[in-house]
């Protein structure tokens, strides 16, 4: 883990968007939500493969949990039907709860792992669950790609 953390706001100021990589959905197991874990070549110089694959695998696990059909989801479905789906006015579905968890996880990953390396993961829900979008930032100040620790703008103490 990098010792310096980029302020994500400053990432925008000091770095410019160089490229975007898209991880497509993996439909080999049907229509359930899964993303391909293939490591994109553009990220080879930016992030270690195990870290990246870990993130994607974790996301896949979360999505599988959201869409899992078991006792709890059936119960929720039957209860909702019995109350004419009015119960969703006061209660959020299990899927939505897991989506919130995913949002928090992605934010945490961005803060800890991806932003220091000049990368940013966009929550797939904002892309209609089609892709995981990874934005690659180039540091404007340096001539090469920003690797996080050598950036001059660095993190600012607030």
């Amino acid at each position: 883990m990098a010792t310096e953390f980029h302020n994500l706001q400053e990432l925008r100021h000091s770095a410019s968007l160089a490229n975007k990589v898209f991880l497509q959905r993996d439909y080999s197991e049907g229509t359930t939500c899964r993303f391909q874990t293939k490591f994109p070549s553009e990220l080879e110089s930016r992030i270690e493969r195990p870290l990246f694959e870990d993130t994607v695998k974790r996301l896949n696990i979360y999505y599988a949990e959201a869409e899992k059909m078991g006792g709890q989801s059936y119960l929720e479905g039957c209860l909702a039907c019995a109350t004419a789906y009015l119960i969703f006015l006061c209660m959020e579905t299990r899927y939505e709860k897991v989506l919130k968890k995913i949002g928090g996880y992605i934010q945490e990953q961005n803060e800890k792992i991806y932003a220091p390396r000049g990368l940013l993961i966009t929550d797939p829900i904002e892309r209609g669950m089609r892709v995981i979008e990874i934005s690659i930032y180039e540091d404007r100040g340096s001539s090469g790609s920003c690797s996080g620790s050598s950036s001059t703008s660095g993190s600012s103490a607030r």
Binding site: N7, Q9, T31, G103
Partner: protein, 484 residues
């Protein structure tokens, strides 16, 4: 040392957002001045929205109001004219049960009609460009009259499934998704477009649709049975003619219910079959998983037993809407600096004009990609088909007989055909299913044409097995003639 400013959410949305999305350099002073648009106002599909984005319906809603009127009037007459007699003579439970059924029917109808069926949002320009690049790499060169069809194959549960590329939405459609030509959206697990509920039936509202037709069957049978009972009981006492004079509404109810029972009950039976075999109407019509297509052809999505299939369809987890209708439109995130592909269309429907100065990285003019109805013939498609209400007949399982009363528009410059299915309920119970086939075309070559040619429907005689290649050839021929 660790400090990440969590900026205020600049838009309301249902999902927790990453803090970075909302912070761009020159945003804040402008945001406070200009009124924010909600996403439903910039929605590219042909849907109507009500209640500030809470309600979403198809463009043609006339038949929905007819459905509503039929249900309300028939039930109202039942409660007004028949229930007093029946509750006295038989049991007061009759109006109570009738009332419960009636409320359930209306509830499920509204839920089906007003909710998002599972619309897939269109690809952002960056995604579309990335896909184009991948396709170009895969195909070699993008020049030539006949670019190969854009499909991807994936093996699901041992069965090879083709994923088609949607030219309107610029995505590869997930399995079981289809593009509805009436609503101009790709819908997940697309079943059919139902004019009677005024919406598509897809992944998110299929269970409500099924509950609606099931409860409507029960209500129709209930009303039919008890109106007959009422007439018989009254006739015993006062004579048949007097009965008709005292309660003329009963005749109307019997007529409406008689014709409705056949179609609605038949439809419920059909959908029960579909649910138990985990198929969509679309797949059943096309015979995608029928054994006639080949020996090894089977449905890869079925769980194997009827109970699990039913549970999955009706009680499974309900995914949230992907289109976030009530969120606020944001200014675009900057595009990557080097243009990735000169022939692709860059732009967005969401950029606000005053932000152009603040985002120097944008390479191209904002292009409006919304599909407005440039084709006058298109809107009449829905009208003419839904207006036809032949009476009489008996329920038949849906066949692929065409509805010849629909218009058949053909544009010389046509960029795309799209899949879509119109499920045409009629009182006469002939279920006409129309499945326009998709044909590829080269948007890279004709970028200026795409606003005009979006998702056009060809309706006509349709044979599921053999029409694919014919359509493709005819489209290619037309494109060849029209391309410069």
């Amino acid at each position: 040392m660790l400090h990440l400013r969590v900026a205020e959410p600049m838009r309301e949305c249902e999902y927790s957002q990453i803090s970075t999305r909302s912070s761009t350099p020159m945003e804040t002073p402008y945001k406070k001045r200009t009124p924010k648009r909600r996403k439903w106002q910039a929605f590219p599909g042909r849907n109507k929205f009500y209640c500030n984005g809470r309600i979403m319906m198809a463009r043609q809603t006339g038949v929905f109001y007819l459905t509503l009127v039929l249900i309300l009037v028939t039930s109202g007459l039942f409660f007004a004219f028949d229930c007093p007699f029946l509750s006295l003579q038989l049991t007061p439970a009759i109006p109570v049960i009738g009332g419960v059924l009636f409320v359930f029917v209306l509830g499920t109808l509204f839920r089906t009609s007003f909710s998002d069926p599972g619309v897939l949002p269109r690809a952002t320009p960056d995604e579309a460009a990335d896909l184009e690049r991948q396709i170009d790499v895969a195909n070699g060169s993008s020049s030539g009259y006949r670019p190969p069809p854009r499909t991807r194959e994936v093996v699901i549960n041992g069965q090879t499934v083709k994923l088609k590329y949607c030219f309107t939405c610029k995505i590869f459609r997930p399995p079981r998704a289809s593009h509805c030509s009436l609503c101009d959206n790709c819908v997940e697990r697309f079943d059919h477009h139902c004019p009677w509920v005024g919406n598509c039936v897809g992944k998110r509202n299929y269970r409500f649709f099924y509950m609606f037709i099931l409860s409507l069957s029960c209500l129709t049978i209930f009303i039919f049975a008890f109106v007959i009972t009422h007439v018989i009981l009254r006739s015993h006492r006062y004579g048949f003619l007097n009965t008709l004079k005292d309660s003329p509404a009963s005749v109307l109810e019997v007529v409406v219910c008689f014709f409705s029972v056949w179609s609605i009950v038949g439809l419920s039976g059909f959908h029960t079959y579909l649910i138990s075999s985990n198929q969509t109407t679309n797949e059943d019509i096309k015979g995608s998983w029928s054994s006639k297509r080949g020996k090894g052809n089977y449905n890869p999505y079925s769980y194997g037993n009827i109970f699990t299939n039913c549970c999955a369809a009706l009680c499974g987890p309900l995914p949230p809407s992907l289109i976030d209708r009530r969120g606020f439109v944001q200014s675009d995130t900057p595009h990557p600096i080097p243009p990735t592909n000169g022939t692709t269309m860059y732009g967005s429907t969401q950029s606000q004009s005053h932000m152009a100065a603040a985002t120097p990285l944008l390479q191209s003019e904002p292009v409006i990609l919304t599909d407005e109805a440039f084709l006058p013939g298109r809107t009449s498609l829905g009208g003419s088909c839904s207006g036809a209400l032949p009476l009489g007949g008996h329920p038949t399982p849906p066949t692929s007989t065409p509805n010849l009363s629909c218009d058949n528009d053909m544009l010389p410059l046509r960029n795309e055909q799209s899949d879509g299915l119109r499920h045409h309920h009629t009182d006469g119970c002939h279920h006409h299913f129309l499945t326009p086939e998709e044909a590829p075309s080269p948007p890279g070559m004709l970028p200026c044409v795409s606003p005009l040619g979006h998702s056009h429907t060809i309706q006509g005689f349709y044979n599921p097995a053999s029409q694919d290649s014919l359509h493709e050839d005819s489209v290619r021929g037309l494109v060849k003639l029209s391309s410069v």
